[in-house]
């Protein structure tokens, strides 16, 4: 590859994404959340206490989203929980994509008996309902480091991505240029990384984005159910507090509390979904006709 080739490859990855309406909307929306997670905590200080006289105050200038059961500002909590919520999901997605890439490339490139065994394993993981599996593991594991939690979750979220990456490898596996490289005896590392991988990278990226979406849904869901409480500010945990612990959804004057958290979770998931659809359309032109 020539000098500047890497830069060009990156640009070739980004350009189609910026041309797609859905992914641009998704990126703009997500930028808000990323800003909230990075700059937000620096601007807005977090004050947590217990002042029951301030319980369930409606939204006002002082408290943009009102206060919760303990009289704490809801918006502050959302801001300070954002880095964890996004960070955990990103870590899960990273681990899951890593496993998926290794399994997908291996089963697509090697083929034969080993490939079939990997396919079988992938299908099994795809069938087993992942949410209950993660739930049981978390409760059994108890308190863990958040990266360990991410790895445990990733273990149940790679199968779909592995299938799609395998398909991408398979599409170029027997292409004339790969055959030529094989006949020239260029060696497996060259064939894998210089010939096949450039065609697979977009698919790895597509799957990373959709894994991120799935990871958000699963991690918020797990915390929402109260399975893992390593940090009281994760959006799933504050949603758990709002719905299951304090029952604010049944109290008319407290309804701003669960609904504002729901709105933030829903918006975050909406923009991630939009990005994931957009990225998939950008790299798979055959889908564009369906817009």
């Amino acid at each position: 590859m020539r000098a500047g080739g890497a830069l060009r490859t990156v640009w070739e990855l980004i350009r189609p994404i910026l041309k797609n309406r859905k992914s641009v909307c998704g990126i703009l929306g997500l930028l808000f959340f990323v800003g909230m997670a990075t700059v937000g905590p620096l601007i807005v200080p977090l004050q947590i206490g217990m002042e029951f006289s301030r319980r369930y105050l409606p939204p006002s200038l002082e408290h943009p989203l009102g206060t919760d059961y303990f009289g704490n500002d809801i918006f502050q909590q959302l801001i300070h929980g954002a880095p964890l919520t996004l960070g955990l999901a990103a870590a899960i997605a990273l681990f899951a994509t890593l496993i998926a890439t290794v399994v997908g490339v291996a089963s697509g490139y090697v083929g034969g008996g080993a490939g079939r065994a990997l396919d079988f394993l992938t299908n099994i993981f795809l069938t087993i309902p992942s949410f209950p599996a993660m739930l049981i593991l978390f409760v059994a594991l108890g308190e863990t480091h958040w990266l360990v939690a991410a790895a445990v979750m990733a273990l149940w979220m790679w199968a779909g991505a592995a299938k799609s990456i395998k398909a991408a490898v398979y599409r170029v596996r027997f292409a004339p240029f790969v055959e030529a490289a094989e006949n020239l005896n260029l060696g497996t590392p060259h064939i894998l990384f210089k010939e096949i991988m450039p065609h697979v990278v977009p698919y790895i990226f597509i799957n990373f984005v959709s894994s991120f979406r799935a990871a958000l849904e699963a991690s918020v869901g797990l915390m929402f159910l109260g399975a893992l409480k390593y940090n009281p500010l994760h959006w799933g945990v504050i949603l758990n507090l709002a719905i299951f612990q304090t029952g604010s959804i049944y109290i008319a004057r407290a309804i701003h509390y669960p609904l504002s958290i729901i709105a933030f979770v829903a918006l975050l998931l909406f923009f991630t979904t939009l990005l994931s659809y957009g990225v998939e359309e950008a790299f798979r032109p055959e889908l564009r006709g369906y817009e």
């Binding site: 739930l135 059994a140 869901g221 159910l225 959804i249 991630t272």
Partner: protein, 319 residues
């Protein structure tokens, strides 16, 4: 093949539970020690009995014991209810199956029809509205929809009950008030599960139909002046439903996994809520039994759907 599948999946379940770092019985033992005021050794023995295995035995012995128990049809033992887990599950499983069945029928019939309709109206306002609504719906996980439905229909409009599977006054059995009450109480969970799936069916039916609509045989049919109903039924529906059918099994698995959250929000007494409660009270015997049932159910469902294939696609019959 089916046996191999279930066997491998359950083996995986076993090893995941057994290869967890540390001894899962330990944390459970500490819990028992504190709750029931026991000595640690006693609590540990109890915890090991509850989990169905003894860490002091080698893994392969435990594995064989696990398989032997499963082939005898024995699941775990629920310490919370103090009876075999199978008895507890038998009471809650029907509710979950009812909700999933209704949600599947509702989402599949409505979603696919809307999808074919949208494909016919491609590029027009009706299509854009349906498409955008489907994307928004699809971005929301069932538990978020569950909370919104619970608030809007349950708390605010008081149209659906806030918990339970049927009204207190009615007598369970084959009578109309009971059946109506069951449907009324299932509305919330069914809606929460169905709305996401419906959007999925809508999008995939639309995509498949758009491709088929561009085929020559459809254009020829249109040119002959066939009605849209005939065209849909005879030309589009037959090839379109096959790729869609494959997702049915995945959709079932996703809903079954999500039932833990949806049923907890609606306090609906299915196995999902049962699983959440079992984990809340550290009743691992029951939790793992429920998980085993879920795994077997999903695999059985996907094989049943595969059996349906030759009925719908004559080309598969010979193969």
């Amino acid at each position: 093949m089916l046996i191999a599948y279930i066997f491998t999946a359950l083996t995986l379940v076993f090893f995941v539970i057994n290869l967890m770092p540390g001894d899962p019985a330990y944390s459970l033992a500490v819990y028992y020690m504190q709750t029931y005021n026991l000595k640690f050794e006693q609590a540990l023995e109890m915890a090991r009995a509850a989990l169905g295995y003894d860490v002091s035995k080698p893994v392969h012995v435990r594995y064989l014991e696990y398989l032997a128990r499963l082939t005898r049809g024995e699941l775990g033992y629920s310490l919370y209810y103090r009876k075999p887990a199978a008895e507890v599950i038998a009471l809650s499983l029907p509710w979950t199956l009812l909700v999933l069945m209704l949600a599947t029928i509702l989402s599949y019939t409505v979603g696919t029809r809307l999808g074919v309709f949208a494909a016919f109206k491609r590029g027009k306002a009706a299509d854009s509205v349906l498409y955008s609504a489907a994307i928004v719906m699809l971005s929301l996980p069932p538990f978020i929809i569950a909370v919104i439905v619970l608030y809007a229909l349950g708390v605010n409009l008081k149209l659906i009950p806030l918990g339970g599977a049927y009204a207190l006054g009615v007598k369970p059995g084959l009578n109309l008030p009971f059946l109506l009450s069951v449907l009324h109480y299932a509305t919330g969970p069914v809606l929460a599960q169905a709305l996401v799936q419906l959007s999925g069916w809508l999008l995939s039916a639309r995509n498949v139909s758009v491709t088929i609509l561009a085929e020559d045989f459809v254009k020829y049919g249109m040119a002959r002046g066939l009605k849209r109903g005939t065209l849909t039924k005879k030309y589009i529906w037959k090839p379109a439903r096959l790729p869609i059918l494959t997702s049915l099994a995945l959709s079932f698995g996703y809903m079954l996994g999500g039932s833990t959250l949806v049923e907890s929000v609606f306090r609906y007494p299915g196995i999902g809520q049962q699983l959440a409660q079992a984990l809340g009270s550290r009743d691992f015997g029951l939790a793992i039994s429920i998980f085993t049932i879920m795994v077997v159910a999903v695999i059985l469902a996907s094989f049943l759907i595969e059996l349906l294939y030759p009925l719908l696609d004559p080309r598969v019959k010979g193969a």
